[in-house]
Amino acid sequence: MADEKLTQIYIMGKAYDVPIGVTIMDAMEYAGYRFIRGAGCRSGFCGACGTVYRKAGEYRLEFVLACQEMVEEGMYLTQLPFTPAPRSDYVLDELDPNENVLLQHYPEIARCVSCNTCTKACPQEIEVMDYIQAALRGDVARAAELSFDCIACGLCAMRCPADIKHYHVGQMARRLHSKADLPIPEHLTARLGQLDGGTFDEQMDALAGASLDELKAKYAERVIEKAEAPEAATEEVTT
């Protein structure tokens, strides 16, 4: 390799030299790809950038988030920005979590053969098969707790030989569990009260009435999270 700070990866089969030490997402942008879909928070929370890769000479397919995983020499990768997985329609208030409600809405969970491929595919390291198994036996609380860290990237559902839509099942379990078993959070009640009472109306109106330039300025100045300590300039790659 001409430049020792570069490494070779393959995006959809085509070779690119990209900088060492950047994420797959940054490397793809470095290579000239522009994300219109399949990129969101860039922080590992939104689940939009599910990616599969296989390294040269290895038999296993790996599953990661493009915004979280660093590139490595010889990665053959592609993104899976969307998972076609229908979600069941339901009205939460009309469901009884004590019945076999998850099985009724997602009957394919009964097709689980416990191969655990979903768990191997999960970039969040969730015990996906275990929560599907809990759902199968009607243990809504366990399904909800085990699936809590799900970011709905959909990689589990893309890999499942039984065509289970795991992340939708987990979401339904969490909704049922929250509603039936958990106390109504005080901070949420307080915030909803503020919203209803018009506390933020003035600010919202100001924002809605702002010009494009004003919005851009606000966006540039925004504080997302207060840093604990001043950070050095991030290692952004420029071409």
Partner: protein, 291 residues
């Protein structure tokens, strides 16, 4: 005394909860409590008969890995279907090193399964480990006068290799109930099929089959049919809604899990019994100390 690693299966956590609750009570009383595997998955539901269909045995083998992790050699089940699936897979994978290697290679995220787990139904544990004498000695409320028809169905006793008793004339469940004072009656449908999963697509087939079983037990004079399988129990309960016979007494037959009656005999209090068991005890038991 040590505990026994216990595999519940999905039904035991759902519509067969009282089967599990009463089994726990019985084994606690007998000093050999059941200890549920911390993590487990569906047994696979049915044993795949295809020669090369290893994929459908993985569910069972994964549970055996969990049992090995728990340091157990035995894995005890209550559900007859789970028993059948787990026991057949255990035998197969124990005997075939190549298949075990293949499955272990596929489950590369798990420790290798050594192939040594022994799957046992609770009735086997009661007969072979606890013994009928010890069971009798633990009785505080003998079920004297209660006529029971022990209904085994298919999967506990077939195939012969994994059956827990003689496949034509099983006695183990009747012996268990006899040990607690009940009177088993012989009836010809004890090991006939209840109609199994036909209840989903062709419910009338399961109903007819189950109704025949109930009728046979009633004609033999049984007060109650005793089961060891959530699916048999379900199908027989469905069939109860259809009149068993024209004679009024024949319609009073009930269906319960064998552990429900054992628990009653071993001193379960009323709150731990289903209304049906309370009803049976109030009518059927003539002995001292009856409920």
């Amino acid at each position: 005394m040590s505990t026994l690693a216990y595999f519940p299966g999905c039904s035991l956590k759902d519509n067969a909860k009282r089967f599990e609750d009463t089994a726990f009570f019985v084994m606690e009383k007998l000093g050999t409590p059941l200890e549920e595997l911390e993590t487990w998955n569906c047994c696979g539901t049915v044993y795949s008969l295809a020669d090369d269909d290893l994929m459908h045995h993985i569910a069972s083998v994964r549970n055996f890995v969990r049992a090995e992790e728990a340091g157990s050699e035995d894995l005890v089940t209550l559900c007859a279907m789970c028993y059948n699936t787990l026991a057949r897979v255990a035998d197969r994978i124990h005997a075939d090193d190549e298949e075990r290697t293949k499955i272990n290679a596929f489950m590369n995220e798990e420790p290798d399964y050594e192939g040594e787990i022994r799957v046992r139904h609770l009735l086997q544990v009661l007969r072979d480990t606890i013994g009928w004498d010890a069971l009798s000695e633990a009785v505080v409320r003998p079920l004297n006068g209660l006529k029971i028809a022990a209904y085994y169905g298919c999967t506990l006793v077939r195939p012969k290799e994994t059956g827990i008793d003689d496949m034509e004339r099983p006695v183990v469940m009747a012996d268990a109930l006899e040990a607690v004072g009940a009177e088993p009656v012989a009836f010809p449908f004890a090991a006939e099929c209840c109609g199994t999963y036909q209840v989903v697509d062709e419910p009338h087939l399961a109903l007819e089959q189950s109704n025949r079983i109930l009728r046979s037990a009633a004609v033999a004079g049984a007060d109650v049919v005793v089961t060891a399988c959530p699916l048999c129990q379900h199908n027989l309960e469905q069939a109860l809604a259809v009149p068993v016979g024209e004679v009024a007494e024949l319609n009073e037959i009930q269906v319960v899990y064998f552990t429900e009656l054992l628990a009653a005999a071993l001193g379960a209090d009323e709150a731990q019994m289903s209304p049906i068991v309370r009803g049976i005890l109030s009518k059927g038991v003539t002995a001292e100390g009856g409920a």
